[in-house]
Symmetry: C2
Subunit: 319 residues, 2 copies
């Protein structure tokens, strides 16, 4: 299997070599701005890693990997409009730097660009790749819709929340993994195993995001702790607390408190309910399920190490 | 060739039989609302007509025809957000009936739905159909971007305007026609001829839209005459007038006039420049070019009649 560094390098070069038409500038400049702004590139990394781990030539997977990364960035661009978010990866969001119309239209163009990259997948697997990509995209929109619905409701159950984050974020990691298996011409069983790996990895990562926002170390986390509490964001922590101490929590949220005071009162409820430990236990479970999913697949030891350590990182990461 | 009525019927049934998932309601209800709201269904009509005219089974073309119609409706949905338009086809626009976020997200899902339909095209032609569809989609976004850019400029030239409407509206008619030829496994020459037919038809239709908004018969047109003048919309008429009587026109547009007075003064300039006749002459030219484009193709007389009379209708229509 190629090393993580080699794969990162291939992805960075592929993204840097995307050609943007010069005109109309207002359409393409925001796309270039979005794609060059970095991020972890986790999804294309997964696609190429799975492809390489299965012994196939990663050059077969590059277009599909880029398609998924461009799609991911498109969803962030449109989500930032919907959430009125100002900052993304330390820079102004597209709708802030330009305006809402630019963000909507450039996002649309990014979605079509993503499909164009998926369509460039080698023809023997292109229909399968396209089918997986489109189905996943629909699920991601469903997840975003549930997320918006949930923000207006205080009756979200834990299983509903898990299903929402599965759709909104995890299936795309599953798709990225499965795409690598598809272009490597793997069997359906192997493709499904990698899909399950990616979905469980995604659930673990998202829950750790929720956990870190409240229980992370402010010196390491890099963001303000407690942002989710201030915004009364429906995280796994808040949904559990709402179902177990409903009235107390609604009272705190209704009060006109200073930010620090609200964070401290809500965190106190979380602690009383032992939610930090319970959340970490669940994260470890999903991480374990990810590892179990690919347990039966014959892989070189360095390939296995890569996927296992990535799953463990979802438990252990501190930022 | 199947009759226009038979083809209309096939399209209406196909659109009525689209299945929408029940949940999340907030995502799928606006899509159903948009697709059931009608419109002329000109694009799928073109796809199936070309396919049938070339002697192929139209069932091969239905998915591609639906994909193009769904894409067209997606562009209207997002354009209505960008233009803050309230009414579309006599009903509230999606962003008015729901909200902007719903319109953005449901639009995204419609674009992916459109791609899913294109991907269901018979496998022997699917990659070609997909390539045509994606390329056309990018051109449509470019056209929309130029349209938005032009609204902020008083220096748009006539060739720039023609290129904008070619991208924003005409290439999709060209794509609809070419798609019918592709699924009918026509030669590249035939496919290109039908593409040229569609693009020129689209230019004629769009210019007639501009003409009717100022010179249409209020009793027949169905909309208020002069809406474009009130909104200082950069139509073919205004762009010509701006290039020929710049200062006079900018003075009128800068004045604080009653709507009727502004319409009357601007129309007087148009009349002095003979723009009604010149515009109609150009429309007739594009219509003629559309007819010429498919002149060399061997078609049954009823097929030829259909395409010729559609092109003539773009000249003669009164609403």
């Amino acid at each position: 299997m190629l090393t993580t560094e080699t794969i990162s390098d291939i992805i960075a070069k592929a993204i840097a070599s995307i050609k943007y038409p010069e005109a109309p500038f207002g359409l393409y400049a925001p796309i270039e701005y979005t794609l060059e702004s970095g991020g972890k590139r986790l999804r294309p990394q997964l696609t190429l890693s799975v492809c390489s781990a299965l012994g196939a030539d990663v050059s077969r997977a590059i277009d599909a990997a880029l398609g998924i990364e461009i799609f991911h960035n498109f969803t962030l661009l449109h989500d930032d409009v919907m959430d009125s978010a100002d900052i993304r990866r330390g820079r102004l969001t597209v709708h802030k730097r330009w305006n809402d119309n630019t963000a909507i239209l450039s996002g649309d163009a990014m979605l079509t660009m993503a499909v164009q990259y998926i369509a460039r997948t080698p023809s023997d697997v292109m229909p399968q790749a396209m089918e997986l990509f489109n189905r996943t995209a629909m699920e991601v929109y469903e997840g975003q819709q549930y997320d918006m619905d949930f923000e207006r409701s205080n009756n979200v159950t834990v299983p509903q929340y898990i299903e929402m984050i599965r759709l909104k974020t995890s299936v795309l990691l599953g798709c990225a993994c499965r795409m690598g298996a598809i272009v490597a011409c793997a069997t359906d069983d192997v493709a499904q195993a990698f899909y399950d790996y990616g979905v469980n990895l995604g659930l673990a990562f998202q829950l750790k995001d929720d956990w870190l926002d409240t229980f992370g170390d402010p010196l390491v986390f890099g963001k303000q702790i407690g942002g989710d509490i201030i915004n009364a964001k429906k995280t796994w922590l808040l949904i559990n607390a709402l179902s177990e101490c409903r009235d107390e929590l609604l009272d705190i949220l209704a009060e006109d408190l200073e930010p620090e005071e609200r964070i401290s009162q809500v965190t106190a409820v979380y602690n009383r309910l032992n939610l930090s430990e319970r959340c970490n236990k669940l994260i470890a479970e999903y991480s374990e399920r990810a590892i179990m999913a690919i347990d039966a697949i014959e892989l070189s030891s360095d390939a296995k190490d890569y996927f296992v350590s990535l799953a463990k990182k979802s438990v252990e990461r501190t930022h």
